[in-house]
């Protein structure tokens, strides 16, 4: 109850808190980080999908010009990039800051959160350096209400990741955006199913599939605990989304299991062929490397 009250209180005061952001950045420029730390703390605790007050984004360039690199990264997820699509320079500044800041879990959360937001906008996407996508592989734990993950479940981001043609990044992307906190858009769900069939069907990709299945199992376990349990952490969850998530993640797991079955059958067939052709010694070695037969 106290948590819900706190959430509502922060929600009702988010304009005032956001009004402090440019000043906090300017103060940080002067060496005083107190207000900025307080702002980031409240923003994280807000559990609001959009903590940002849309008027505050008008001052993003002022903030980026004065903020430290570390601050640029931490503040970026709280900026609504939708109205900054003309500001490629801001993306470049952000990308430059990433390469200069040492890794921490907090930094990784912010980078990934911002990356998924920026990638959603076609005007900004080309200005994201390719190497930044590798930050997805760090797989930071995104908070239950995360603007980045919300945008990550949209088709433009999914396509952008697929176009990278990097199985590791794709897996990391799925592991980040598949969660008990967000349902997938229908188009993204279809794309995910297709990509599972397309990219995760190699016989040697067993540990990728295993990791994804484990992740989906975890999500389904969480979903089985009920909506109320999840709403304690994300008050914005609704019954409709909850049911959709259950269906979607169950289907995704089924898809993955289908792929695993298909791959296993293929391997058995291969195994039979190879058994006829190879000697007993080499056969034994080969069998040890095979995945377990399908149930």
């Amino acid at each position: 109850m106290a948590d819900a009250e706190e959430h509502h209180l922060i929600q009702s005061k988010h304009k005032a808190i956001n009004a402090l952001l440019p000043y906090a950045v300017l103060q940080e420029f002067g060496g005083k980080t107190g207000i900025l730390d307080a702002f980031l703390h409240v923003a994280r605790a807000s559990k609001m999908p959009k903590f940002e007050w849309h008027h505050a984004r008008e001052y993003a360039s002022t903030m980026f010009s004065k903020a430290s690199l570390h601050t640029i990264i931490l503040v970026s997820p709280h900026i609504y990039w939708g109205l900054l699509t003309e500001r490629r320079d801001l993306v470049q500044q952000w990308a430059a800051a990433i390469s200069a800041v040492p890794y921490t879990e907090e930094v990784a959360q912010s980078v990934v959160g911002t990356l998924l937001q920026i990638a959603y906008y076609s005007q900004l996407l080309p200005h994201i350096p390719t190497d930044i996508w590798s930050w997805l592989n760090k797989r930071p734990s995104l908070p239950p209400t995360c603007e980045g993950r919300y945008y990550g479940t949209r088709l433009p981001v999914a396509k952008a990741v697929l176009e990278l043609k990097d199985i590791e990044i794709l897996k990391s992307y799925f592991l980040l955006v598949w969660s008990e906190w967000d349902h997938l858009k229908d188009s993204v769900f279809d794309e995910s199913c297709a990509s599972i069939h397309e990219h995760f069907n190699e016989p040697w990709g067993g540990w990728h599939r295993e990791e994804l299945i484990q992740h989906l199992d975890h999500i389904l376990t969480q979903l089985d605990q009920g909506l109320e349990h999840l709403q304690q952490h994300n008050p914005n969850l609704e019954e409709y989304h909850f049911q959709r998530m259950k269906d979607q993640y169950r289907k995704l797991k089924d898809t993955l299991l289908e792929v695993v079955t298909g791959v296993s059958c293929l391997i058995i067939i291969l195994h039979c062929i190879l058994t006829q052709w190879t000697c007993a010694g080499s056969h034994t070695r080969f069998m040890c490397a095979l995945p377990p037969p399908c149930p």
Binding site: S12, K15, A16, I17, A19, Y23, L26, H55
Partner: protein
């Protein structure tokens, strides 16, 4: 002088008449020599029993008239002295200090009802004239009625004319024949009318009820119906007999009830009159001595109040734009707008409107009046926002709002003017919103002073709105804070402090000590 002549003329009649006494003595001497001279009459010495009663009355009236004339002359001389003292420049210093001194004197004149005292002079003279007329009429009545009639006629005409003038002055404010009497009646009449109206209504309803339930009426009706037809010989005797027996009791009951009604009505009237007199007395006392809180607030506050009255007076009496500019600058520099006359906001608005012209929704400043327009705009904003906080029910707020809507069309554009930001802020106050343009100064940056005034007033508005039913600071004020705090370089420290206060207020911090405690 005229009274003196009459007094001298009639004065002899207040003493024994020596001529008459000599005549009486001669008659006695003649009678002693020849007692047949006067027939059977025996002359006696007359005894002085005092002047005739009518002469005493006449002389009293004449002396009263003379004394009144002297008193008015005395007051006239004193008044001349007082006015000389008021008009004298008895202080050296800056224009502001001298204005304060003059305003202090003016306030004293108002507080001590100097104008009423001065208006007493003609009143005393009029009273002296009336007394002279009465005395003459009375005196001449004893001498010759025809001559007296002329004087009485003219005096009565004068009295009726004066009463008519008072009535006309009371009824119509635009009547040129205003007198102190009509002023007093004009003030008291509406309240007296209310009391009279309520008393009359209650008396009328009580009398109506009393008449309908009257015992006398019942007795008469009963006897009339009982002895029907009572006018016939057979019935008339028992009819009157019964009436004689029953009427006194019925009359006594009715008189008792009537007495109760009259007592109650008198009580109502007395309560109303007491209320009227007490409110008048309280307002008089508070005006003369100021409210207790005035004394507690200290010299600075009193000086601020004095300054604001001085500013109001200057704006209302001067047409000189240079004086207006200096006055507005002083007003804009004031941090404490304590207890000001709400009409000051209207004066500021009028002054601002006199500096501008509107062409196709574009607000254009008249050449040479740019500074005055900018400063007066700031003053409008300050006074309006202060009123919104301190006296949100003030009718002046609505009046200025209506004037604003009349003067400025809906699409009025203040762009490219020095008061662009301030007028946007004023719009924000009135319409509880802020246009997008309000934050994008488009090359125009508000002066430090303009910015500071806006911040200062927005803090008060935030506090007021937060304390109200909304429980939150208006969005447009938060936008102002956001914008101000994002400026690079940052605005002045007071502006930053006030913007942080705005945010603190919205976050629910108790900052009343900081806002109202001058911390």
């Amino acid at each position: 002088m005229v009274a003196s002549v009459f007094i001298i003329n009639i004065q002899s009649q207040l003493q024994p008449d020596t001529g008459e006494e000599t005549t009486a003595l001669l008659r006695v001497l003649i009678y002693k020599i020849d007692n047949t001279s006067f027939g059977t009459d025996t002359p006696t010495l007359p005894q002085w029993t005092g002047p005739p009663h009518s002469i005493v009355q006449v002389q009293a009236l004449l002396y009263a008239s003379l004394a009144s004339s002297f008193l008015s002359a005395f007051l006239a001389m004193l008044g001349k002295q007082w006015l000389n003292q008021y008009a004298s420049t008895d202080m050296r210093g800056t224009a502001i200090e001298r204005s304060q001194n003059r305003q202090r004197k003016l306030d004293g004149i108002i507080a001590w009802y100097f104008n009423y005292v001065m208006e007493l002079l003609p009143l005393i003279m009029q009273a002296a004239l009336l007394l002279l007329g009465c005395a003459l009429s009375r005196y001449l009545w004893g001498v010759n009625i025809t001559v007296a009639s002329v004087v009485i006629g003219i005096t009565s005409f004068g009295i009726f004319l004066y009463l008519f003038i008072i009535t006309a002055g009371t009824i119509s404010g635009s009547c040129p024949y205003q007198t102190p009497g009509s002023h007093a009646l004009h003030y008291l009449w509406p309240q007296a009318k209310k009391i009279l109206h309520s008393t009359t209504l209650s008396v009328a309803s009580a009398l109506g009820d009393g008449f309908r339930g009257s015992e006398t009426r019942k007795v008469i009706r009963k006897n009339v119906s009982y002895h029907e037809p009572w006018q016939y010989r057979r019935e008339i005797v028992p009819f009157f007999r019964d009436m004689i027996f029953e009427l006194p009791r019925a009359l006594a009951i009715d008189v008792y009830h009537l007495g109760k009604v009259m007592t109650w009505s008198l009580h109502t009237f007395a309560v109303g009159a007491y209320h009227l007199s007490s409110t008048t007395a309280i307002s008089l006392v508070s005006y003369l001595h100021g409210s207790p809180s005035t004394l507690e607030r200290g010299v600075d506050w009193q000086l601020a109040v004095l300054d604001l009255r001085c500013i109001s007076w200057m704006l209302q009496t001067s047409l000189d734009k240079t004086i207006h500019l200096a006055t507005f600058k002083h007003l804009a520099a004031m941090t404490e707008l304590a207890n000001f006359d709400p009409t000051l906001a209207k004066d500021c608005f009028k002054a601002f409107v006199s500096c501008i012209d509107i062409k196709y929704h574009e607000v254009v400043v008249i050449r040479g009046l740019e500074e005055l327009a900018a400063v007066s705009a700031m003053c409008i904003f300050s006074t309006i926002s202060h009123l919104l906080v301190m006296d949100p029910t003030s009718s002046v707020l609505e009046e200025v709002h209506q004037d604003y809507l009349k003067v400025f069309p809906a699409q009025a554009n203040f762009r490219d003017n020095y008061f662009y930001y301030t007028m946007n802020a004023l719009q924000g106050l009135y319409f509880q919103s802020w246009t997008r343009q309000g934050f994008h100064w488009n090359g125009y940056k508000p002066s430090l002073h303009e910015h500071a005034i806006a911040a200062q007033n927005f803090v008060k508005i935030s506090w007021f709105k937060y304390q109200g039913i909304q429980g939150k600071v208006p969005c447009f004020v938060l936008r102002f804070a956001l914008h101000s705090l994002s400026l690079d370089p940052l605005p002045s420290t007071p502006v930053i402090a006030n913007c942080l206060l705005i945010i603190a207020i919205d976050l629910g911090c108790d900052v009343s000590d900081i806002i109202f405690g001058n911390r």
